[in-house]
């Protein structure tokens, strides 16, 4: 069992770090191959062996891991240690109806806390700060991770709760919160909520907003900073494994530093799977270097990024990613939570006992989404002469989705005659179709 590393690679020499990364990579690849049947089979199918990974570039010979593999190996199929060594089990919504499950040993948690703390320190958090966590239930795991990371720093943490916005605003104001972690949509809701409650942003002790879950445009950031009199910092993370702040901004606000001493990044062309030329954009692929319980190899994130390996003015030598707005998969991010169309349709079918012929998913403008909208076309199968039965269809689907996805959901019953974009595509900006 590896012990957590004590040497901090944040500001370290890139060449030395590359050697360290290679050692960790080879160890991880071996462990995954030797202890996880799924990975052993993947290697067999692609006629690769761990010994083929002699340089960092050789990683491209290892097959990818995709989100569907997490569902296919539900629940514990990808764990590399016995269950008794697992001290934390996290569940995240998956791409289908089956959730994604990840596990952590005590060492993993200790390490992960430090990774989050690193990102918070870069955002200038100290033990004098009061952190409030304002995330939708779908991001509850991130709520726990931010709490752990901030506690490691000695900051005062107001953990994630399910209190309504008005209560959150009361806490924000009365408890003198200085740091707030929220999604971009959450931040926009907060600005509206403050306006409605009559609390002046100038009265708040809030000075920093950490935005998570999706890329955010400069305009939106400037708008939030102006309205709330605060600084914004962006964090990138995954919901399926370790979590938030795998990449984080420094005071230069010029890209997100990837904690590449723990998560090795590659950028690939999503169509071909081949690495792109330096500086080109593509799909971010991540390989765990330090994970004990869950050593994922070449996980395709579906996020589109561009890598920057030049030195940063902050002094950190960790490479930076520019987080681009379009994803490479057909997932839509709503309030920071990744929503997969197939998963939503499977929940609907399970609830109604049949799959409606006409069913569209809609989300508001990126960064301002108030939640998921589900449009169900009322055909002969769905229709009932009685309003209460139609309401039952609408309400039962909304309730299940709200509960299982952890974001606000609104179900609308629509006439089936109106023409909408093709079924496979999400409807963005449903306001245009009203």
């Amino acid at each position: 069992m590896t012990t957590p590393d004590t040497r901090d690679w944040e500001f370290g020499d890139p060449e030395e770090r590359a050697q360290y990364q290679l050692e960790k990579l080879q160890a991880t690849v071996n462990r995954a191959h030797n202890t996880v049947p799924f990975y052993r089979d993947r290697f067999l199918d692609s006629k690769t062996e761990p010994s083929h990974v002699e340089t960092l570039e050789d990683l491209r010979r290892v097959p990818f891991t995709e989100r569907r593999h997490l569902a296919e190996n539900y629940p514990y199929g990808l764990f590399a240690v016995p269950l008794r060594d697992i001290v934390r089990i996290h569940t995240a919504p998956g791409t289908t109806g089956t959730p994604s499950v990840s596990g952590y040993t005590a060492n993993d948690l200790a390490l992960w806390r430090r990774v989050v703390a690193r990102a918070l320190i870069a955002a200038r958090m100290t033990d004098h700060d009061i952190l409030q966590i304002l995330l939708d239930p779908g991001l509850a795991n991130w709520g726990r991770d931010y709490k752990d990371g901030a506690e490691t720093l000695g900051a005062s943490v107001i953990p994630l709760t399910s209190l309504p916005l008005e209560k959150q605003i009361m806490i924000l104001s009365d408890y003198k919160t200085s740091f707030l972690v929220t999604s971009v949509s959450g931040a926009i809701s907060l600005v509206e909520g403050l306006y409605n409650s009559g609390v002046q942003p100038g009265q708040l002790a809030l000075k920093t907003l950490i935005l998570v879950g999706e890329p955010v445009s400069l305009d939106t950031r400037a708008n939030l900073e102006e309205k709330l009199h605060i600084n914004t910092w962006v964090h990138f993370g995954l919901s399926e494994m370790p979590g938030p702040s795998m990449a984080f901004e420094c005071e230069a606000h010029d890209g997100l530093h990837i904690s590449e001493d723990h998560f090795y990044p590659e950028i690939i062309d999503p169509e071909s799977g081949e690495p792109v030329s330096p500086g080109e954009s593509g799909e971010l692929v991540l390989t765990a270097l330090s994970a004990g319980a869950f050593p994922f190899l070449r996980f395709r994130t579906g996020d589109r990024v561009r890598l920057n390996t030049q030195a940063c003015s902050c002094g950190r030598t960790l490479c930076r990613m520019e987080w681009l707005p379009d994803r490479t998969d057909d997932t839509v991010v709503i309030r920071g939570v990744k929503i997969h169309q197939e998963q939503v349709f499977s929940y609907i079918e399970r609830t109604l006992g049949f799959a409606p012929m006409e069913c569209r998913l809609a989300a508001g403008r990126r960064g301002s989404s108030l939640g998921l909208e589900v449009w169900i076309g009322v055909d002969d199968h769905v229709f009932s002469d009685e309003v209460k039965e139609l309401e039952q269809v609408r309400d039962s689907v909304a309730k299940v989705l709200r509960h299982d996805l952890g974001v606000p959901v609104r179900v609308r019953l629509k006439e089936k005659t109106v023409s909408y974009p093709k079924k496979e595509k999400w409807i963005m900006d449903p306001e245009d179709y009203r």
Partner: protein, 143 residues
């Protein structure tokens, strides 16, 4: 014994009801009675028309979601207590009224109410036992 009703699903948007009326008008179909049960987003339009079969086809052809339902057209004395008699009767035998609406008044002293009961058969039996008159579909649209 029962009458035919057409139910149509509508979104609660301006102009939808007019569209339905237009389709029927173009086919020369007359609306004899109408009721809309609405929520903030959608409504169920219930119609008694002069030709249910033709209306069903025409609306379906233009893309509407339509269902045909059997309803009871019950003759009610057009005086205080006329409706109450029916409601009390249903109450006493434990039958639920899903919805109801009025039909045009054909003769002085008589009114006709359209009912959807649950369960329908038991309701018909109860009404007959009390000597209440149901107006059969064909007679209804001929009024």
């Amino acid at each position: 014994m029962l009458a035919e009703q057409i139910s149509v699903f509508l979104e609660n948007k301006a102009g939808r009801l007019a569209e339905v009326a237009r389709v029927l008008a173009d086919m020369g179909i007359n609306i004899r009675a109408l009721s809309i049960a609405d929520t903030s987003d959608f409504g169920v339009l219930r119609l008694i028309v002069s030709d249910a079969e033709k209306a069903d086809r025409a609306l379906k052809r233009t893309g509407w979601t339509v269902r045909r339902t059997r309803v009871a057209a019950v003759e009610v004395r057009d005086e205080p207590g006329g409706l109450l008699k029916i409601l009390d009767l249903m109450d006493s035998v434990g039958i639920n009224i899903e919805y109801m609406y009025a039909f045009a008044n054909p003769n002085p002293g008589q009114a006709i109410m359209i009912f959807r009961f649950d369960p329908m058969d038991d309701a018909i039996d109860a009404l007959k036992e009390k000597g209440m008159r149901l107006v059969p579909g064909p007679d209804l649209v001929a009024i």
